[in-house]
Symmetry: C2
Subunit: 323 residues, 2 copies
């Protein structure tokens, strides 16, 4: 069978990303365990072996994530090859950060056209290696394969949880009433080059995983307006106060909500207003140069956004794949 | 920088696979640890955490490997999509087998043109899921990305060692005088369809890892004539007796040595002739339907192949990437 079709109705583009993901779950059935041990979160969480009898302290859980960079999609001729190597590692580090973990090892699969320039590839590897050293991630394995007409670099990153009890922060811990917060500032990632020079929030993710108030965490890759629904519990809607969303200079609200590739952390936490103030004060002491901003709250689905003065997210969109 | 060049001298094709791998090691430097903790073997071997005080039995080591299947390279329109999914998992399982390990979890990264047919993708996933269940490997994570014009599926497989002491069989244990053996039969993999329907030698690899005589192991993917040099120790040459190399029906010696994609195990073991007979007898009891054939021995580099009646491998070639 030819995998490609010129009849749009037969293709994955006709289905769209969300429906395609639902189909894939159905096709995989019992071969794919449910999150957090399986698909659907920033990383898969593989439980540590049970501790030996008499040893109370449980071992860290293993984290696994995979993300590619693809020529023509995630970078083009304007992005220096060193930055492509860095972006590849940092995208994956951001997923480890989003579970509150630390990275342990990476493997790289490269699919390369034989016409790839040697000096391009050298700069790509040197950029990747410099970051691998800076973040303390050994590159332990890889594969090189021929791919006529294409250039796809796929990195799989292993990590481990760092919080007591092997706690990993998934996307599914939030409840109605929890606060929504975001690290740093949003928007304009592509135009500014931040999409390949951002700093993965590893220290911040580990700090959040040790705070009992924090109940869910993810990194922002497709834009806040789309990604916030991944943290939203069933029966709830996110109420975001638009004027509070922290934006990079020169970025309007629409861009801050929809641009994507921010790689900031989106946090759900559960606290009284007084306890929330304490959490934010502790954050400022730990990370004086990176804001953590409360931008909203999870409300019952039937709460009217207008009456509360909140943003109508249905007017905003994040990045849609396969369009 | 444009990653592609039309001047052949500037490209990776001009360098060839072996020289390219040597360059990559140089570019990565200290970011890539040496084998077996790093690149260069069938899997990377990540040491288990040190056992708690008073616990003598060491935990299994973690194994990691990654291999893709790429449209136009590893499969074409003639290969059913179910078989593509199976091939992807089995290629990686074969790498786990080649360390004497067992698989524990897989993650899949798909780079897909939006024009990919939905029914092609469904059959691919169903083939992958059927094999994942059959081999007991949960698919714990994945990524979907847009890749206009291409179809690349990259699977990363985690595993663990099964032999006492966390022993993994690497490619580097052989010495001059060790025997060379191979499982099953070789050649004709592409023409017969075995390249996507082969059985990864997991049980056999685990059995071999428990035999102290076995000192090195790998799986055959690029053809015996090329791959045997990955098991050959420095200062040695492999003496292979051509008439003994086990071949599939209708396959000549040239094809058995050079076709590639056999996914059989190549074994180095150290034994007196009497002990070798014992090992082979034990194998026949364990695996009565799969031959283990002694096909040669590692000899000093200056040993003349002609005087010993052995094969001149310089006249044979395996699969070369980026040509």
């Amino acid at each position: 069978m030819n995998p490609f079709s010129d009849r749009p109705a037969d293709t994955i583009a006709a289905l769209g990303e969300q429906k395609l993901l639902a189909r894939i779950r159905r096709w995989l059935g019992s071969a794919a365990p449910a999150s957090p041990a399986g698909m659907g979160d920033d990383c898969a969480v593989l439980a540590a072996p049970r501790p030996a009898r008499g040893h109370a302290r449980s071992a860290p859980a293993t984290l696994v994530t995979v993300d590619p960079v693809i020529y023509g999609e995630h970078f083009d001729n304007a992005v220096p090859p060193r930055a492509v190597g860095r972006k590849l590692l940092r995208r994956n580090l951001s997923d480890i950060a989003a579970m509150g973990g630390r990275p342990t090892a990476a493997v790289l699969a490269l699919a390369l056209d034989p016409r790839i320039r040697l000096d391009w590839l050298e700069a790509f590897y040197r950029g990747l290696a410099a970051d691998a050293r800076a973040f303390g991630v050994p590159l332990v394995g890889g594969d090189l394969a021929t791919h006529r007409g294409g250039l796809v670099a796929t990195l799989t990153l292993l990590g481990e949880t760092t919080a007591p009890g092997g706690r990993a922060l998934t996307r599914s811990g939030a409840r109605i009433g929890d606060w929504i917060a975001v690290t740093g500032r949003l928007g304009g990632s592509l135009a500014s080059g931040r999409h390949h020079s951002f700093t993965p929030r590893l220290d911040e993710g580990r700090w959040l995983a040790r705070r009992p108030e924090v109940v869910a965490l993810m990194d922002l890759s497709d834009g806040l307006a789309k990604d916030v629904f991944s943290l939203t519990p069933p029966g709830a809607r996110p109420l975001l106060f638009g004027e509070i969303v922290p934006r990079h200079r020169g970025v309007d609200l629409r861009a801050a909500l929809g641009d994507g590739e921010d790689y900031e952390l989106l946090v759900a936490f559960r606290a009284t207003p007084a306890a929330a103030q304490k959490l934010l004060a502790a954050w400022r002491r730990a990370f004086p140069r990176l804001p953590l901003t409360v931008i909203g709250q999870f409300a019952p689905k039937d709460a009217s956004p207008v009456s509360l003065g909140a943003l109508d997210l249905s007017a905003h969109h994040g990045f849609e794949h396969f369009q």
